[in-house]
Amino acid sequence: MTGRTRLAVSAAAATLAASCAMLPLVDKSAWILQAAFLLALQSTVGALARRVPLARPLTVAAQALVTLLLLTVAFAGEQAVAGLLPGPDVFREFGQLLQEGTEDVGRYAIPAPATAGIRLLLVGGVLVVGLTVDAVAVTYRSAAPAGLPLLALYSVAAGLGQGGSGWLWFLAAASGYLLLLLAEGRERLAEWGRVFGGRRTAPPAPGPAPGGASPGPVRTGRRIGALALGIALVVPAVLPAMESGLFEPKGRAEAAGPGGGLTSVKPLVALQDSLNQPANRELLRLRSSAENTRDLYLRIVALDRFDGASWQTTERPLTELPAVLPTPAGLAPGVRTTRIDTTVTASAGYAQNYLPLPYPAEEVRTEGRWRYEPEGRILTGERGQTTRGVRYQVASLQVEPTAAQLASAPAPPEQVLRAYTQVPRSLPPVVAQTARKVTAGSANAYQQAVMLQDWFSVGGGFQYDTQVASGTGADAVARFLEAKRGFCIHFSFSMAAMARTLGIPARVAVGFMPGTPTADGSVSVGSKDAHAWPELYFEGIGWTRFEPTPGRGTTPEYAVAEQAPGAGPGAAPAPAPERSAAAPAAPQDTDACPPAQKKLGECRPAPGQAGGGQSSGGPSAAAVTGIAVAALAALGLPLLPMLWRRRVRARRLGGPDLHPDAAADAMAAERTLAAWRELTDSAWDYGILPDDSRTPRAAAARIVTAGALEGEAAASAGRVAAAVEQVLYAPRPRPAPGLAGDVECVRAGLHAAAGRGARLRAVLLPRSAARLLWGFARRRSAAARRIRTGRLGASWRRAGRALRAARPRA
């Protein structure tokens, strides 16, 4: 195996080793085989291209092209032209797959199912990184920077993955990179010939060295690499301060430490903590019979007392957990309900003395000492009972009232009103004023609730921000209404407080919003899913969830503001003009996008507003124009040399002819030299290479003989050469007239003497167009020189020196 081949193999192996770190992200590992196969093909193409040898950029381009073809065959074979060539359909398919993949990544918890989109992301990503590594390490022969794409690959995997056996993947990725560095080092050493290991430290008895022993520097390199790897693995495990690093031991990760989960009995404090934790940790895993888990909020506790300092849970007597829980308060028979069964497993790291339940639960089957609080329908652990590792089954109701039912809800009972509309005297009046202002024009409590919710989530200009201090007092509500920055606690507390000022019974639920579906159909609920939301009471339906926090959770069906009049027979219409008049702070929305969709960022321009684009799924006019322009450019590119050549010729031979008596000024000299350049370039176009070591006379003679020129054409060539000699060497140059005609005559002669293929080539693909490339190269190197010598270059060099100094000398 030659050094180059070894390097190429090492580069592919390093990429593959780094991509192994992504294995735990997906439930099936077959994609890595596909990626490995395609990567091998890509590397082979690179090796062949270097063998040819192609220019470096061409090598990379060839690899990129092959990569595209491979991806086309693998992922969009049906859309491809002839099953192989990527057409517009293929790119559309790629776009769609990538979009699906991105959505899937957002939707599924780890390990995600290997959907086509995710597979394209994985395989495509590995191939792109592989191409970069191969180009940097092998084609451009600088293996050290190739670590950056590898690191990027590993970082993505490490960032998405969850602790566990991360050290194994790190070992694989780092070993791959070290392998690459060693291979490069070997190749560099080999360029100097055979490498001797140098004198051994303990000279043994004289004898032949063991066969196949590596040269000394390589051996040392290996030792250093292995040592560095060992240190990287061992030191974080030993140092206590680094236990939250990359390689957190499993045991520690699952121990209930201070940051290990919602351990606090004060859920609110823990809520912000867990939202601000860098890593999302799975707390619960549930499997539900519900068709749609989007509404499956898990409630820990309800905060029903607002005393001005905070929202709190009223201490109420607990009872034994009944086999069947009583019917939820206020739920009338006419409302549609669906019974769903959910099995929840709490992780061993999650210790909480309230049991997270869907609302309203009807039956709870669980082990352990749990007691029931009927008013809030809360299960509380007794005598140290926590959720740690608990597995339980819940039967709950999915209440789906219609907007009409909510709108026509009668007034709540007196004791509910009294208990749940209390606001502290210290509540600033601005809260009630804002509530009235926002809900101005509403016809009933339901409309008020929806308006409040939409004002918070869409129209009010609020921003979700978990870094805001979680003040919960009465003043905090006013502050939040002014600053308009906060997270679920602020939104839910404020909405509940405002609803209370409007006379709607309200409380705040704390728990989890719906988690992330995983590949096996279960739902993973993590620490980042911790949430708080307001519950408003409507007689006949009971406690009803609303979702004022922008970008979090899901807005329930019934709380989506109806735009179309007559959504329900009894629905009080909420005309848009009134709404916008009622909410002056809201931007004037002219589109028909419902606030709930807008909240989720799902609003797209209406078809009529898309600049006349097609409303069906086809490409837009802009895309068509872009493709057309690109196609024209692709077609025009081969004509570029011809067009350039024509322009140059016109410039060189154009202009008025020189008068024989004209003074030998600089312009005459310039014109003569231009004619000469045109002559040599024309000859070049017909296959007569220019030769710097020839004098004008010798060059003209060669053009005459090689181009088989005769008669007038040969004489013309001689005249041009003589004119050039005059200009270049004579003390008083005599201007020669008619040079442009002479050059044209020579061209005609060359054309006549050349074969058909040569003529065609001279016109379509003139060889002298290489000067165009040379010009580019010259300009580029000049620019590079300017950068090197300029200020930018100085700072770049300084940075480079600093880096070199920081790098250990291996």
């Binding site: 000299a669 030299l673 710097d692 006379r697 003679a701 270049l728 004579a730 003390p731």
Partner: protein, 345 residues
């Protein structure tokens, strides 16, 4: 692929005869050339080079195997110009004083009298110069470069024009002393006669078999014609780029991997002077890079010392010069401008 220094590459189209230089010069030179060529059959390029060296005030070294007409060329050149000619047959026992002259004590006048040596002539033919000892060879040094002879503290001017035409045998190593580098450097050009073509040899048999050709050769030009020609040659214009080209070529010999010793600055001087003469002979009032190219091998090769490796590999100094000619670009106007700038800095 044309080769450099090939015969006839100095041939100019008739349209290029310059009014300023042409006229007398070309006709006189042409007469001499014809006269010499009537003796030396089928070697126009050698004759032309000999004439070029004469007009460039240089000395000519003719090197070849015995019997190809080295001495004949030297004598023919000397005979066709009406001037004083001396011939020195170099032998191992030749003394320096035989060349430069010697002071003899005159009994009657009771004083030393200087008896001029063989070098006191306008054309000196040094036959088989490498058969003399280095000491004797070196006696020529001063006279060749400074055109004067110093004996016993007295300096004697040599007549003008002054040209040394030396011959030497390369293969006959027995009894020969190689010319020292300093001596070789003083020759403007070295030329090899080469064997004549069969036709030329046949013609030679016809002519030379009957009458010794030199006998019939009459002088066609006078010494002062030559002096005038030399004056005209000095006025030939050499553009900056052509000088630059000569410098580039000579510099390249100093860096060529096959060469142990490159050419001296004197070689540059000789090259440009010879180019001037060649341009004048072609009827041009300015020198071309073509002139430099055509003369480069003759002017440079004999001054260069190939490395031992090159000698083992059979690579000669001539090949090195041809290689340099192939690699060195002829200065184009932009390079000329760059050079001017560099010189100004």
């Amino acid at each position: 692929m044309t080769t450099y220094g090939e015969p006839g590459s100095l041939e100019d189209p008739a349209t290029h005869a310059e009014p300023g230089v042409g006229g007398d010069l070309t006709t006189t030179a042409e007469r001499i050339r014809r006269a010499v060529e009537s003796v030396i059959e089928g070697k126009p390029e050698v004759v032309r080079l000999a004439l070029t060296v004469l007009l460039a005030e240089g000395h000519l070294l003719i090197e070849d195997v015995p019997g190809v007409g080295k001495t004949m060329l030297a004598k023919a050149l000397a005979r066709s110009v009406d001037c004083s000619v001396r011939r020195i047959q170099f032998t191992p026992d030749l003394l320096p004083s035989d060349i430069t002259g010697v002071s003899v004590f005159d009994q009657q006048r009771r004083d030393f009298e200087f008896k001029p040596g063989a070098v006191f002539a306008q054309i000196v033919i040094g036959d088989e110069i490498n058969r003399a000892s280095p000491k004797t060879q070196s006696a020529l040094l001063e006279s060749m470069e400074e055109r004067q002879v110093t004996v016993d503290g007295h300096t004697y001017e040599l007549p003008s024009p002054f040209m040394v035409v030396a011959t030497q045998n390369p293969v006959e190593m027995e009894g020969t002393y190689p010319l020292p580098e300093a001596q070789r450097d003083r020759f403007m050009a070295r030329v090899s006669m080469g064997y004549p073509s069969p036709e030329a040899e046949l013609r030679m048999l016809d002519v030379h078999g009957v009458v010794p050709p030199l006998e019939d050769l009459q002088p066609v030009a006078h010494a002062h014609d030559i002096v005038k020609l030399v004056e005209a040659v000095r006025r030939v214009h050499v553009a900056d780029s052509v000088r630059r080209y000569a410098v580039d070529l000579v510099t390249a010999t100093r860096h060529h991997p096959d060469l142990r010793l490159g050419a001296s600055p004197r070689a540059t001087l000789h090259l440009v002077r010879a180019a001037r003469a060649a341009a004048a002979l072609a009827g041009r009032e300015f020198a071309l890079p073509d002139d430099v190219q055509a003369l480069a091998v003759s002017v440079l090769a004999h001054r260069l010392l190939p490395t031992a490796q090159a000698q083992l590999g059979g690579r000669t100094a001539e090949q090195a010069v041809l290689d340099i000619l192939r690699r060195t670009p002829v200065p184009d106007p932009s390079a000329q401008a760059a050079w001017r700038q560099a010189r100004r800095l």
